[in-house]
Symmetry: C2
Subunit: 358 residues, 2 copies
């Protein structure tokens, strides 16, 4: 519950006190104080979204961004002709795919859930295992991954892109390159596009001082979120996504989530261990960002939990050893809903892709 | 080649003739006459797109159209959670899917090519075999098809739609129905949406009298298209799509297209025969519409031909016993490009779909 802070009084109340009348509007005065205190408390843990997620010295030129957007929706580069970035990062589902476990080429189920693409350039790394340093590296490795796009060499991808008629678009976006159609430029262009996909939310307005941007229950939820300890991991500009943590501190996660062993991991998913082979990384996962969490179910690295209230309960129990009341859960969910952002105006507009030359 | 028509002269030339000067601009005069003659000739075979493809007495209300649009992009109703109307009718590929053979749930390849969705309410029927009478019937049968959406009963679909949070949208669109969430309303709403998807093209302007709407080569191509006999089948408002014809009149089609036998047909695709079991229907297919043909490769019922010039050559040979010159092919392709229409403004904008209630 929100801690009631009475130590500061508003100017209005100060005048009222002087007139002996402050008792007439104590709720208003308390609420304003609480709001200010909560804004201050929140700013110690979180940051509003920046205006841009561009790399230093790498301007997001319109030609690069629009090429990146075309490539984001392009499926003909995959080995079954059906998979593109937008397949797992679908505008219909807030940049995720609504599935528990995402799917690669030829309909093959992969062992983890797909994150939303929004705000990902601001994360510590990409994927639940953090095995991609940047959105650019993710785009690069996905297109030559046998599991994701089903290609295995750079040349395969570059030949397809040329045949599809992309040369003029690459040339325009990277005019100084001797070889414009390259996987390097594929990854840079998609990265440029993804760096435009930020989703400012009511919570950002609140952090910047607009106390009315959050409902009363959302504010109670934010306070509960902080006081319960959630913000120990879910902090920073993306409310998570800035560190790695063990999933299942109080007990094995699958006892609570209903997760099942996966063939790809020869058992339960041990997170970063599968990449590093270091026992210290067992069950360490990137803490997911919580921006847009309310609109991107299902939850966790394997999508094993379907609803947000249940995900909140599971996290409190597994990570903090706490049983939340229904009221606390409901308030926290209300706060998390204030992280649902405005989708970039152009994101949902699918571009008409080049038709291969006759 | 375009027939030169000299019988009519323009007012300008009449004045010039009176002054004995018509020889100074014979090309202009001939061209104007030719254009008018070609417009007249074309209007005897083709019709411009109507303003609306609404069913009689069934208004396309905004609530029905927007529900239909959401359902068009909805994938969670399919048994693998990945297939919706927009999977095969993708805005990125002008309402088709760019594949030779389209794909159903669980990545299973189907035996025929997916048509573009544009202008389909105006066709004689749906599918290459014409086994769906209307866009509404197509939407109805697809969602309970084990091959397409992977469902088998109406109840399965209706339960999923309710769980996904669609009840308020159905109620708003069909307020008088005792049971708003029904497959009947699924099919009506998607039909309402698809009935808005018309793509007026330069050729429509030409038919309405604007001779400049088509380039000179497109006009030569239109004349060649008619004189060669293509318009014998590819006529009407959708330049095809109004009748059934045997594919492969001069010889078996697979000898020219490179088509292969399909398991689903226990051999080569015999078109409507597979539905009717009537030998008279062997190799009878719905004549495809040619609107947007230049931007929806690959071609034919099995996508066996990759490029438009080759498709034009194959058709002339197989259906009309003619070998077209490269020049004729190039002109016809130029005419076909004038059938590429304006995409409805809102079509490519993917709606954010309901998030299942907590």
């Amino acid at each position: 519950m929100m801690k009631k802070t009475h130590s500061l009084i508003t100017g209005l109340c100060a005048v009222a006190v002087a007139a002996g009348a402050c008792v007439l509007f104590p709720t208003l005065a308390m609420s304003d104080n609480d709001d200010q205190a909560l804004i201050t408390k929140a700013n110690a843990l979180f940051k509003p979204l920046p205006d841009s997620a561009a790399l230093e010295n790498t301007p997001l030129t319109p030609l690069r961004v629009s090429l990146g957007k075309a490539l984001f929706f392009e499926t003909r580069v995959s080995s079954d002709g059906r998979l593109g970035c937008a397949t797992c990062h679908n505008p219909a589902y807030y940049g995720a795919d609504s599935l528990a476990l995402t799917v690669g080429v030829h309909g093959k189920q992969l062992p983890r859930n797909a994150h939303t693409v929004f705000n990902t350039p601001l994360l510590i790394a990409q994927h639940y295992g953090g095995n991609r340093a940047s959105v650019e590296e993710q785009a690069y490795k996905a297109v030559i991954s046998p599991l994701a796009y089903g290609n295995s060499t750079n040349e395969q991808v570059e030949t397809k892109l040329s045949q599809l008629g992309y040369l003029p678009l690459f040339k325009a976006a990277y005019p100084d390159d001797a070889k414009p159609v390259s996987i390097e430029n594929w990854s840079k262009a998609i990265g440029a596009y993804e760096r435009t996909l930020l989703t400012p939310a009511p919570f950002d307005k609140f952090l910047k001082g607009d106390a009315q941007a959050l409902s009363k229950t959302a504010k109670l939820g934010l306070d509960t979120f902080i006081n319960t300890g959630c913000a120990g991991c879910h902090n920073g500009v993306t409310v998570g996504g800035q560190s790695y943590q063990k999933f299942g501190i109080t007990q094995d996660y699958w006892l609570v989530t209903g997760s099942t062993p996966k063939d790809a991991f020869k058992g339960y998913d041990k997170g970063r261990f599968h990449d590093t082979k270091n026992e210290a990384d067992a069950f360490m996962f990137k803490v997911p960002q919580l921006r847009n969490v309310a609109v991107t179910p299902p939850y966790f690295h394997d999508g094993s939990v379907a609803t947000l209230p249940q995900a909140v309960r599971v996290m409190a129990q597994l990570q903090l050893g706490k049983q939340l009341s229904d009221e606390d859960v409901s308030h926290i969910v209300s706060f998390l809903e204030s992280l649902t952002g405005e989708i970039p105006a152009d994101f949902a507009k699918v571009p008409a892709l080049p038709v291969a030359a006759h």
